[in-house]
Amino acid sequence: MFTLYGRYLVPGPLLENSLLPAVLAADAPETARAVFKAAMSGDGQLALVDPHAAGDWDGGSITVRNGRLFGRCHLVRFGGDATQLVVVSDDQQLWLVDPHAGGLEMIQTDANADPLSSFASVGLDGVAGTPLADPSAAPRLIEEIRSWVRTLVACELSGIATHCVRTTIDYAKEREQFGRPIGSYQAIKHIIADMHVHAASVRNLCDSVLADTVNSGAPTAVDAAVLKAHASKVVVEVCQDAIQVHGGIGFTAEVDLHWFYKRALALRPWYGDTRALEEMVGAAALAQTTEHASTTKAV
């Protein structure tokens, strides 16, 4: 699904609206469940208020005192349009918060460079929230949400790459210079061959990670980080190669490549860019005890 969103650049908070209810509804209190159900059927919009989304950058901080929320989250996707907020506090708890609650300040940014999102900054000064999960279960659910976001963002990136490769092949067959199609020049062919190999590698990795979730229910934190580390790096490069092969027109707003490129650039750092995620993956590999069983899994 998210691969298709990428391929066609579908706008809107689809990720938040489908993911948050799927992970949280089962264990949520009755009132919250109704909210999730409504969001899934397109009635109302959810936003995820998680300072961790900024990756290595300062995304803010949210603390809890006497059951009330304080602090700020600098980047909330679709925060301004949200009818309900799911908030992640620094102590690893989950809250459902009404954006119109007393003490809450939502500052919508007027301009942004991601063609498909709008961003807001949320300030919390003693805001009341409904706990969404048992305190002992919340950290696991938060990890699950973050892993899913990384996975689905990678799928969206994969769709962007597929689109860019397809468009570029078509263009290279059509556009002529020096009396022949530019796709007959080896310099161009080799760029496109690499684009194809890299786009395919992202697709295959998405398939593989998603196939594993059929049994486990959610991608592991490491698998999701591996996937998004790879997708973030490769898909931005594929977009850049697509622009190069298009020449001057590739730099204009006349063709749609710039939308795909900007979207890829905006998704790249979301929940960790390649560097941050590689470091996280490396730390996990070095911490793990060597267990053959993990790799012996039949291909």
């Binding site: 007959s184 062919k189 690499d194 194809h196 593989s208 490396g282 291909v299």
Partner: protein, 386 residues
């Protein structure tokens, strides 16, 4: 099928647990002898030619069984046998295109390691453009008389047999005048001269042929039909090789991580601490990328869809992944790379420097990365020929 495969795998694992697994000597000659003995042991245990027909001395099982065996071998830290060119490349082509006597007499000895094979394709003037090869074979009664030169022929100085591409019709179009011959390396007139590689090993050779007489019955496929056999060989090679190398990389990665951990990691907040995490992270991501790719390769093999231009996608990704993994690990050696037998961060400098150097070869042999890109863009993506 899956249970069968799972049972097979656990059988292999049990056998390996009791097997006398050799340690591989660094010296090339000793290494050759040890791995040749190991090949016989594996053969007698039914571990070679797993997906080959029974009449060819194989086990008549699937490619997936073969893969399972290779994986278990690697996980048990057991080395590969020495005769891989015969096993992966020449053997399957003889099985597919060879004559009855060739299958019956040559393949069992190829499997057991009694005969080591080499592949004489490349020449000084014919590398990527293999079809321009010039080594001549002229029919004289019941014999071909061969004169010319091959180069980069791996293990030619150790081999008993060679699969040789020769020009049998100089007048025909270049692809149409080539034949595939099986040549006994003890025939008079053959001189292999080992070449030293950048790793210091002497694995490959120049090979000179001076009026070498080979019986006509040693022809594989049709006279002047050698190109079809050769392209089949190269396609099979790419798929089999991808799967096998993936397992090698996994083991190398695990070894590096274990060495780093046993030695003690640098303090996390230091520059070096961060470098180690990022290097290992990059290598791990590369490994997973290849893992996901080989899942598709296995599906293609199981469906009999090999060789295809898709194999070139595998080969290109494989080259990239190998170079990332060994590049990242070798970079952790820092300046100690130049100091033989040192162990910076617990990593044995000799081993990782060797493997890193060797990774330069992957994007050259079996068709260079540029040739794979030509194949992908023209045959897979339909871009116009230049």
């Amino acid at each position: 099928m899956t249970t069968d495969l799972a049972e097979y795998r656990s059988g292999v694992r049990a056998w390996l647990a009791d097997a006398d697994i050799p340690t591989v000597p660094l010296d090339l000659d000793e290494r050759f002898d040890v791995l040749r003995d190991w090949q016989r042991v594996l053969f007698e245990a039914g571990g070679l030619g797993i997906s080959w027909s029974k009449e060819a001395g194989g086990q008549g099982l699937s490619h997936l069984h073969q893969l399972a065996f290779a994986e278990e071998l690697a996980y048990a830290r057991a080395p590969m046998p020495i005769g891989l060119i015969g096993l992966d490349v020449v053997g399957p082509s003889i099985d597919e295109f060879g004559q009855q006597w060739q299958r019956e007499e040559l393949l069992p000895k190829l499997l057991s390691g009694e005969h080591i094979w080499c592949q004489g394709f490349s020449e000084p003037g014919a590398g990527s453009d293999l079809a321009s090869l010039r080594t001549r074979a002229v029919l004289d009664g019941d014999e071909f008389v061969i004169s010319g030169q091959k180069v980069w022929t791996s293990w030619a100085h150790k081999a008993q047999w060679c699969a040789l591409l020769v020009r049998t019709d100089p007048a025909a179009h270049k692809h149409a005048g080539i034949s595939y011959l099986l040549v006994d390396m003890s025939t008079p007139g053959i001189t292999p001269k080992p070449l030293e590689q950048m790793t210091g090993d002497r694995e490959f050779c120049e090979v000179f042929f001076d009026e070498v007489r080979v019986p006509r019955r040693n022809l594989v496929g049709e006279l002047n039909g050698g190109w079809a056999v050769a392209t089949h060989t190269l396609g099979i090679e790419r798929a089999a090789y991808t799967l096998r190398r993936r397992v090698d990389y996994e083991i190398a990665f695990e070894d590096a991580v274990a060495a780093l951990r046993d030695h003690g990691l640098p303090a996390p907040e230091t520059g070096l601490g961060r470098r180690v995490r990022i290097a290992i992270g990059k290598a791990h991501v590369a490994l997973k990328v290849l893992g996901a790719q080989t899942q598709k390769t296995v599906a293609r093999l199981a469906a009999g869809e090999v060789p295809t231009p898709e194999d070139s996608v595998d080969k290109l990704l494989l080259n990239e992944v190998e170079q990332i993994i060994f590049g990242e690990i070798a970079e952790l050696l820092g300046p100690y790379r130049a100091v033989e037998e040192s162990r910076p961060l617990g990593l044995a400098s000799d081993r990782w420097a060797h493997d890193h150097l060797y990774s330069r070869a992957t994007s050259i042999y079996g068709g260079t990365s540029q040739i794979q890109r030509n194949i992908i863009s023209e045959r897979l993506l339909g871009l116009p020929r230049g």
